[in-house]
């Protein structure tokens, strides 16, 4: 694997060229936080961030999207809406890339979902290694501090320059066409390894007390643990943990009719398993009526159910749920460590 070096003084010009030729989305500063948004000038883009408020999943699975569009006049006509515009997503940390890789599999396996896949296909992903660790992050423990695929380019901040790993041919073309690069020296390649392991080690400070691979088994034996009831008694059933989670993809499908009743849309909207009505059926039966059952379900889904589908835990350790939860009960590190302590 040959790495390229990219002088920081050339960076703004590179971003400007991307903006001239593509729709560019990326990480922006928002007061003391960071979020994904449109990059209109090189100064908008911020690659020195700990974690964004929301994950980048919105670019592939928008909070609301039109699946079907229909007209009723003169007669019913229904068309599927499968749309995508090529765009660049600049500044995705490895844990979020890992989450996107997982979601790609969910929407591609079995019955493929072209609404998601078309949008995903149209995206060029430029990853960036973290320069800072968010207070509740634990991605190193979740083995999400590096990914081997899922990016077109991967940037690592080396101080005066970036080292860039080329992930795909498309990424390589982008770099040669718009960037000014030279091959990395051996020392620079070694330095990149050091920088990466330093930041990973910083992320392990508050981490799991046991190896990640034990999570599925730990959950399997925790069904009756009092922990679920205890924590869930503070749950507001607000679904914020679902909202900010890069691996949560559950959705609802609803129709929206135009006011003149001549046209409308069938929409897909994000849903969340913590919300009270998530498992309620039309006759009124709610299969996860209690907060504890919904709270437990989310952890089981991440650590056990999806593990059986993906062969990996569907938590990448971004820590967003922990930092967004008002009663502060959503922290997976706390949950997993507590379950381990009280394991029978």
């Amino acid at each position: 694997m040959e790495l390229q070096v990219f002088d920081k003084s050339d960076h703004d010009l590179f971003v400007q060229k991307l903006i001239n030729n593509y729709q560019v989305e990326g990480v922006k500063r928002k007061e003391d936080s960071f979020c994904y948004g449109s990059i209109k000038s090189p100064g908008d883009l911020c690659l020195d961030f700990d974690c964004t408020i929301g994950p980048p999943k919105k670019y592939f699975l928008p909070p609301e999207e039109t699946l079907l569009r229909f007209t009723t006049v003169p007669s019913l006509e229904v068309t599927a809406v499968i749309e995508s515009t090529p765009f660049i997503l600049f500044g995705v940390h490895p844990y979020d890339l890992k989450a996107i890789n997982q979601m790609d599999r969910i929407f591609a396996d079995g019955v493929p979902d072209p609404h998601y896949l078309k949008r995903r296909e149209a995206a060029l992903l430029i990853g960036v290694d973290p320069t800072r660790v968010a207070p509740r992050a634990f991605w190193a423990d979740m083995e999400a501090d590096a990914v081997s695929n899922g990016f077109d380019l991967m940037f690592t901040d080396m101080g005066e320059s970036f080292i860039v790993e080329i992930g795909t041919e498309k990424g390589g073309d982008l770099l040669t066409q718009y960037g000014k690069v030279r091959p990395a020296t051996r020392n620079e390649t070694r330095e990149r390894v050091n920088i990466r392991s330093q930041i990973s080690n910083m992320c392990k400070k508050r981490g799991l007390t046991f190896p990640k691979r034990e999570i599925p088994q730990l959950l399997e034996h925790s069904e009756g643990n009092i922990f679920w009831e205890e924590k869930a008694s503070k749950c507001l059933s607000c679904g914020t943990c679902n909202l900010v989670c890069p691996t949560c993809y559950c959705f609802d499908v609803q129709d929206d009719m135009g006011l003149d009743l001549s046209n409308g849309e069938r929409l897909r909207r994000w849903d969340g398993c913590l919300l009270q009505d998530f498992a309620r059926v039309a006759t009124g039966e709610n299969f996860r009526e209690t907060r504890a059952s919904r709270y437990r379900h989310r952890f089981f889904r991440k650590g056990l159910y999806l593990f059986r589908v993906l062969d990996d835990v569907a938590c990448v350790g971004c820590g967003r749920c922990a930092s967004s939860c008002l009663p502060d009960i959503a922290d997976p590190v706390d949950a997993f460590n507590r379950l381990k302590e009280t394991e029978k």
Partner: protein
């Protein structure tokens, strides 16, 4: 992302025209329909479809008819929400959206040559009817047939004509009960499990097929087990919120299984230890 992306949306329905509507009870109607394309629905007994009215929405509805040669199929629909209310207002000749059929089906092959004990509670008769009628249409391929049907009260009994036929047909044992009788009710009174002492089965060769409200399963399964029916010969159909039908949306998940794909029909031994399943 190197694989090719399909161009067709799995959310785009086919269209079906309603050819007959029959009132079943105050809140349930039977809709006979056929796909406008002329192709058969291609379902097996126990599968469901996603039924939709554009502008209102979509909901999972089990197919109530056995597969037949005419390509028409029947959905029995209780009026309980926005979509089903809208469907109840439709008339013959109107079209609805259909996706599917989805999910697993009743063990039509495995039960051949065996005895079958059907246990239906309330609206659970709707999906079970597809299998009952299939068995009755292929009567010689199956052994003894016993049907138990329980409703809350007589006015909630569905398919009255067929119940009567089952009751009088040779070679079928049909027993019914209601929880709350009215003045005209002369039959058995009590929950469905109170019918079990009245039946005579050879448990080793009997398959018990159960569909009813969630609360019913635990008790009926206990009865079936007490009668010596092996766990592997107990099947049931679970109701969940199957929103997408293709194992993506997450609503019908019970542990690692998706009811829309791994169900709705399950062998008891496959789900007995799943938290939240029963």
């Amino acid at each position: 992302m190197n694989q090719s992306v399909p161009e067709v949306s799995p959310y785009l329905p086919k269209w079906a025209e309603i050819s007959r509507i029959e009132d079943l009870t105050e809140s349930e109607k039977l809709f006979e329909m056929h796909l406008v394309s002329g192709e058969p629905l291609g379902h097996s007994p126990g599968q469901f479809v996603e039924l939709s009215v554009m502008g209102i929405g979509e909901a999972p509805i089990s197919v109530s008819s056995a597969p037949r040669e005419t390509n028409s199929f029947e959905l029995a629909i209780r009026k309980v929400g926005n979509l089903t209310n809208a469907v109840h207002n439709l008339v013959t000749g109107d079209t609805v959206g259909i996706r599917g059929p989805f999910g697993t089906h009743f063990p039509v092959e495995e039960t051949k040559g065996k005895d079958i004990l059907f246990v239906a509670g309330g609206i659970g008769l709707v999906p079970l009817r597809s299998f009952i009628n299939f068995v009755l249409e292929h009567r010689e391929e199956y052994g003894e047939v016993t049907i138990l049907f329980g409703a809350r009260n007589p006015s909630e009994q569905l398919f009255l004509d067929e119940l009567e036929q089952w009751g009088s047909r040779e070679g079928i044992k049909y027993l019914e009960t209601v929880d709350r009788p009215d003045q005209n009710w002369k039959g058995h009174v009590g929950v469905i499990t109170t019918l079990f002492p009245k039946i005579d089965i050879d448990p080793s060769k009997t398959y018990c097929i159960i569909v009813g409200p969630p609360v019913m399963y635990r008790f009926v399964i206990l009865e079936a087990k007490a009668r010596g029916i092996p766990d592997t010969q107990i099947f049931l159909s679970l109701e969940r919120r199957m929103k997408c039908g293709i194992g993506k949306c997450g609503h019908c998940q019970i542990n690692h299984i998706y009811v829309c794909q791994d169900g709705p029909v399950f062998r008891y031994t496959d789900i007995f230890d799943l938290e939240e399943a029963l």
